[in-house]
């Protein structure tokens, strides 16, 4: 009898829970009136210390002039990645108005969820973005709409430890490692001389985003900026993809890069001589390693190759109830003045057409950053099932290139076929 009673109570509670869940929709949406509404808003920033400091200054300046449209800034809630925290917030209807740490790869999924505002539908949305970014803005379109404002980039270059290069007999001021052959020769010198245990140490782990820091920058460079997927089809199963994959496969098969993740910061520890990194690394290693930077290598040794932008952008969320304020604050925070403050505080490059000339004084005072401003960049394409496609790519890459259990040809054709299927739905 008691058992039956408890079952009865449980069944009732289940029914209540299901009813509550089924009727819970609609609670978090901004609604039709939200597009022009003004009032207090919340924004999320990345947990980068310098970005948080920049964000607080910008918010303080805004709040001083807009007492009725107060902005509250906070770091993205803890999670294994920003994307997971944001996905959960969209689903729960608790997303903020703006997030200043959007990866392009995640945008198509969030658009499918109905979580992002199409900025193109705002009166001056598309024009503001295109005036700011120029022709490159098209890269950031999803379903013909701007669901993200291209904000800043961290162009990827090859960072190297000058002391290790010198020890290996490589001129740190002119390493001459622009071609694959020269790069491999330099890498062998580093390991054979004992200057460092490894020549380069890209993370060999399996996360979907890891290709952005090994294969993809070199593929963009080798192909002249062709994205991984173009016109609904994978592009990398060609001579460019083969050249890049063979290059990395040689690095791993000759033991020039470890096949396991570093247990500490390999550059600081001196266990590797090179890493692929953006301008953020200059400040990070300022006190520990004397670093230099060179463009990513290509088979022909191109002097000015395209590289991966590693951009982080800003999106507005449909849960926002005061989207009018959110849009005005977004424009305020990405103004010429505040972009300059961002550059000054973080060393990251605002995505603007006139970067080098607008902030000429900054680059004159900080010549180490100038080389990053001059980089031509490409980004991840905005494609359906983006994360799944990158994960499929990474899985196949790991097998063939890092662990050598399948051939490079199998990796390229197999991954291209799978990604075609995912992109074309």
């Amino acid at each position: 009898m008691k058992h039956h009673r408890i079952v009865g109570v449980a069944a009732t509670l289940t029914a209540v829970a299901l009813t509550a869940a089924c009727s819970g929709g609609g609670g978090g949406g901004g609604g039709d009136d939200a597009a022009s509404a003004t009032g207090p808003i919340t924004v999320w920033l990345s947990n980068n210390e310098q970005e948080v400091a920049w964000g607080k200054d910008v918010v303080e300046a805004w709040n001083a002039d807009h007492p009725d449209e107060k902005v509250t800034a906070q770091e993205i809630p803890a999670g294994s990645s920003s994307e997971e925290a944001i996905t959960a917030a969209i689903t729960a209807g608790t997303a903020p108005c703006l997030v200043y740490n959007i990866s392009s790869a995640a945008v198509p999924g969030w658009v499918r969820q109905g979580g992002l505002v199409n900025l193109s539908e705002l009166e001056d949305g598309a024009s503001y973005i295109e005036d700011r970014v120029g022709d490159g803005a098209q890269t950031y379109l999803t379903d013909d709409g701007y669901y993200q404002l291209p904000w800043k980039s961290n162009p990827v270059m090859v960072m190297y430890n000058k002391a290790v290069f010198e020890k290996a007999g490589i001129d740190p001021e002119n390493p001459d490692m622009a071609t694959y052959d020269d790069f491999l020769a330099g890498a062998r010198k580093i390991v054979d001389s004992g200057a460092a245990d490894s020549a380069i140490w890209p993370s060999p782990t399996n996360e979907f985003f890891q290709p952005w820091f090994d294969f993809y920058p070199l593929y963009l460079a080798e192909s002249g900026g062709t994205p991984l997927v173009e016109d609904g089809a994978a592009t990398f199963d060609d001579e460019n993809g083969t050249a890049v994959a063979d290059f990395w496969a040689t690095i791993y098969s000759e033991g020039l890069a470890p096949k396991e993740a570093s247990t500490d910061d390999a550059m600081s520890a001196g266990t590797t001589a090179m890493q692929l990194a953006g301008p953020w690394a200059i400040a990070s290693y300022a006190d520990s390693v004397d670093v230099g930077f060179m463009p990513v290598p290509t088979s022909s040794g191109e002097a000015d190759p395209v590289t991966f932008a590693d951009s982080k952008n800003v999106s507005m969320f449909t849960a926002c109830e005061n989207q009018g304020t959110a849009w005005e604050f977004l424009k305020f925070s990405t103004s010429e003045e505040n972009d300059g403050a961002l550059l000054e505080a973080t060393g990251q490059m605002p995505l603007r057409t006139d970067l080098a000339t607008t902030y000429a004084d900054y680059f004159a005072d900080n010549p180490a950053y100038e080389v990053f401003a001059d980089q031509r960049t490409g980004d991840v394409p905005s494609i359906p099932n983006s994360v799944e496609a990158w994960q499929a790519f990474r899985d196949a890459y790991s097998s063939a290139v890092i662990f050598g259990t399948t051939s490079v040809e199998e990796f390229l054709s197999g991954a291209a076929e799978k990604i075609d299927g995912l992109v074309q739905g």
């Binding site: 009898m1 008691k2 009673r5 408890i6 009865g8 109570v9 449980a10 509670l13 289940t14 829970a17 299901l18 869940a21 819970g24 929709g25 609609g26 609670g27 978090g28 949406g29 994307e83 997971e84 996905t87 969209i90 689903t91 729960a92 209807g93 997303a95 999924g109 499918r112 969820q113 109905g114 979580g115 245990d197 993370s203 060999p204 782990t205 399996n206 996360e207 979907f208 470890p258 096949k259 396991e260 993740a261 247990t263 449909t318 849960a319 099932n385 994360v387 799944e388 994960q391 899985d395 790991s398 097998s399 890092i402 662990f403 259990t405």
Partner: protein
Amino acid sequence: MSTSATTTPSGTARRRWWGRQPIGSLLALPYVVFVVAVFAYPLGFAVWIAFHDYFFTAPGVEVPKPFVGLDNFAAVLTDPQVLDAFRNIGVFLVINVPLTVVLSMVLATALDRGVRWAAAYRVAFYVPYLTASVSLVGVWLLLFSSRGLVNTVLGPLAPDPSWLVSSSLAMPTIALYVTWKQLGFYILLYLAALQNVPRELHESAETDGANAWQRFWAVTVPGVRTTTVLVLVLAIITGANLFTEPYLLTNGGGPDGASVTPVLLIYQRGIQQQNPDTAAAIGLLLVVVVGLLSLAANRITRER
């Protein structure tokens, strides 16, 4: 003063809902709510998701989520990565479960016999269980990485490729780690069970000339049989739900997918790739597999 045999209609209704001891039901209610909210509802919802073309949407966004029958199950059962994940977890369970049962029973028996420094040993066995896996994984990475302490000690005998980047050694290394980490908890279960094994049985066996091994096999092992069933079932359930260790120790199921587990795939598919429907299908398959293994463990160890 007398008690009436008749009850009012409201009293009958109250008794139907709350039983003869309403306070008891009230005290049980929080746990019932917990079970319903955290286990029953999500499980029911997962079953529903697994049979539909489902993805998470923002509140108020209405999109069709059509019934797709067994399509999600067909997709995951023909996915080599899913099959590999179940194979990997099979390797893990084959190593982890027997080791857990044998080591925890033997060590608990030794502690029960009053070895010197027993209290210190109990603490030493229990500390890894209490410590967060994240910090322990850091220590194991330092021990088992290519240039770690273990390989330094082994010198030329160190495996190449090393423990965590070898397709054949990664999962066994994880199984050893989990066995070591969880051992303290299972030792405690056995220590409690050993208190209920009558000393007289040991004394009688000793009088009959049984040596230590014979007493262990003929008295201790049968005496803790019900605990062995519990340990087996718990080890199977926790082992089949392996996630943290391959996520951290082998960096997301590496090398080359050799330590990918079903729960890791559920995380990738459901959370990262926003395909909760196929993730739910994998989850339900895992529930069925774990249920069958637990039933089998229960039957095999049942007293005949």
